[in-house]
């Protein structure tokens, strides 16, 4: 698998973010093409999550621009992402504890509904057909991740691995074109990580994926292209093989190797 040359879905160029006197990101660029999995790695504090937050519209960069399908994103807010076709998972599980697993996924499916505000308020029009459509799609997503048995359960009663799958189902149920995964492997067992890798590769066939992850085996396994950040700067980019052979990357990780697989 090599990087495709088609126009990128998501492109970030010259992103610079300063928090007070601290430069979190300095002239960072990144592109995700359709159907590829791009990994974003780097030691703790390298600026990976900040870059994610810039893409999500949570943090505004001092310089640089994020563009989506060639159109520059300005003033976008997190809740606009879903309508653009971008889904993001958070570092934690962030499931809604008061909603059943199925309802959790149905929240993610909401943008597939066709009814308007009037239908939502009155029960007329597409209200019922929307409910049915969302429920079916959510159920299908849960089945895809092998969590269909958990549909009626509350998240708190489910094992951690199943909760992770519900969270993934919620992120991809609306068929986003780009999936931002923030440390999806944290807290998972080896077996679950293998299954996760399989899932991420299958997402890659349907959508672009941007993956922040500490678990190097997973990153090397699933990514088509890797961007390495250190102290807010891009120090290397390339295929997994190139990155593994890069002495600069090895040096950046020297002493940080202990932290692999831990929370960022």
């Amino acid at each position: 698998m090599t990087t495709t040359t088609s126009a990128p879905l998501l492109a970030a160029e010259g992103i610079t973010v300063r928090f007070g006197g601290l430069t979190a990101l300095d002239d960072v660029g990144l592109a995700v093409a359709p159907g590829t999995v791009v990994g974003l790695i780097g030691p703790n504090g390298a600026g990976k999550t900040t870059l994610f937050n810039v893409v999500s519209g949570i943090v505004r960069p001092q310089r640089g621009a994020v563009s989506w399908k060639g159109r520059r994103l300005q003033r976008h807010r997190p809740h606009h992402l879903a309508d653009l076709g971008i889904a993001r998972t958070l570092q934690g599980l962030n499931l809604f504890p008061g909603l059943s697993a199925l309802d959790n996924v149905m929240v993610g499916a909401d943008r597939l509904a066709r009814g308007g505000a009037l239908a939502m308020l009155t029960g007329l029009g597409r209200y019922h057909s929307d409910e049915r459509r969302l429920r079916e799609r959510a159920m299908a997503a849960l089945e895809e991740f092998g969590a269909a048995d958990a549909a009626r359960a509350m998240p708190g009663t489910l094992p951690f691995g199943v909760q992770k799958r519900v969270a993934l189902a919620r992120a991809v149920v609306a068929e986003p074109e780009l999936l931002l995964l923030d440390e999806p492997a944290s807290g998972l067992s080896g077996e679950d990580i293998a299954a996760l890798g399989e899932a991420i590769r299958s997402f890659g066939a349907r959508m672009g994926v941007l993956l922040v992850e500490h678990h190097m085996d997973l990153v090397m396994d699933v990514c088509d292209h890797i961007v390495v950040l250190n102290f807010g700067e891009v120090i290397a980019t390339g295929t997994p093989a190139e990155i593994q052979a890069d002495p600069v990357v090895a040096q950046a990780y020297l002493g940080a190797a202990e932290e692999e697989g831990e929370h960022g």
């Binding site: 309508d83 958070l90 499931l95 929240v107 943008r111 029960g123 007329l124 969302l134 094992p159």
Partner: protein, 359 residues
């Protein structure tokens, strides 16, 4: 499509998926909201109407009171139980509704009751937009404080405009009772209680439809985790304001029903105590389910009634008698919440679960 290999068991406490045949309850739940909730409301209306044939005028008044309190508490349920915003000032919207109703009856006597109700809903929703937009950026205790200030401040408007709003004595008016055609069939108080309940039930159908659908799910999602809800596409700020507006509309309509039932609108009925009582009744009835509003309203009206009856029966001093209902309500609230944090609705659910398992 992907299939993940290791399908884990998903913990206990849930029923096996797909029982052989869908039960009656499942089939009922599968009905469209547009069918299910109006049917339930029609049944409830028939039951209430039947009940008024065995109660006297005082009983009718109490039944009507349960109705409008239920509507106000159900609106609060949508705001607090679903969208997770705490309002300590919902009495202000009841105040607004009651005075709108009184002014309409006094100054536009030709307007039919249903139109008065409709005007009240529109006005209270408009007030809800104003307050909701102003408070949308406030969280938790700050929102509670802002709404509390509204409940404290608003009733004193009556003293500021005594000619229009009747000062501290409020406004008194009389409404048309039962239509002449029904003169021998039902009494005026029965008619009034029925009108209040019809309004309440229509309001509840709307609230139940909203809370069972996409909007309700969005509210519950942002209540549980705002950032995750935002990333899932829920417009967080707008959804909060919508919840506030809807609950303001329900509060205003409840106030209009109260004014219509009692024939008065006085500032002393809409003190902070009312707002706090609504909140207490909501918690007692149970957060997170529209049934909680029903149990809360029944408790709010009848605990007071029983407290007064008990004080009478024991021929207590009036100082004690006046405070007994409040003590009752407080003790009941503490006991229920200690044993069933989900309120009376949670209590009945767990009892029903025990009975089912016992069989």
């Amino acid at each position: 499509m992907v299939s993940l290999r290791n399908h884990e068991s998903t913990g206990q406490g849930e029923q096996p998926r797909r029982a052989s045949a869908p039960s009656a309850a499942d089939r009922w739940r599968a009905l469209p909201a547009l069918v299910r909730f109006p049917l339930a409301a029609a049944a409830a209306f028939a039951a209430v109407l039947a009940l008024t044939f065995v109660t006297g005028p005082t009983g009718d008044l109490r039944i009507g009171s349960v109705g409008y309190y239920m509507l106000a508490i159900a609106g609060l349920q949508l705001l607090i139980g679903y969208s997770g915003q705490i309002s300590l000032g919902h009495g202000a919207f009841m105040f607004l509704g009651a005075y709108t109703m009184a002014l309409l009856v006094l100054h536009q006597p030709a307007l039919p009751l249903w139109l008065n109700m409709l005007i009240t809903v529109v006005l209270s929703c408009a007030a809800g937009v104003l307050v909701g937009a102003a408070t949308a950026r406030l969280h938790g205790p700050y929102l509670a404080g802002a709404t509390l200030a509204l409940a404290v401040g608003l009733p004193s408007v009556t003293v500021r405009f005594p000619e229009l709003l009747g000062g501290s004595n409020g406004l008194a008016f009389s409404t048309r009772g039962a239509p002449p055609a029904l003169a021998g069939v039902i009494t005026n108080t029965q008619w009034q209680a029925a009108a209040v309940w019809l309004t309440t039930l229509i309001g509840l159908v709307v609230l139940a439809t909203i809370s069972a659908g996409r909007l309700g799910r969005r509210m519950r999602a942002l209540r549980d985790d705002e950032s995750a809800a935002g990333l899932a596409g829920v417009p967080v700020g707008r959804t909060k304001v919508i919840a506030f507006v809807i609950s303001a509309g329900a509060g205003g309509l409840a106030g209009a029903c109260q004014a219509y039932l009692l024939g008065t609108a006085t500032p002393s009925s809409f003190t902070v105590t009312l707002s706090l009582s609504l909140l207490a009744a909501l918690v007692l009835g149970g957060l997170g389910s529209m049934w909680g509003a029903f149990f809360g309203a029944v408790a709010l009206v009848y605990v007071e009634v029983w407290g007064e009856d008990l004080a009478h029966a024991l021929s207590l001093d009036s100082n004690v008698a006046n405070n007994l209902p409040i003590v009752f309500f407080g003790v009941l609230l503490i006991l229920v919440i200690l044993v069933w944090p989900q309120g009376l609705h949670g209590m009945l659910r767990s009892l029903a679960g025990l009975v089912r398992r016992g069989r």
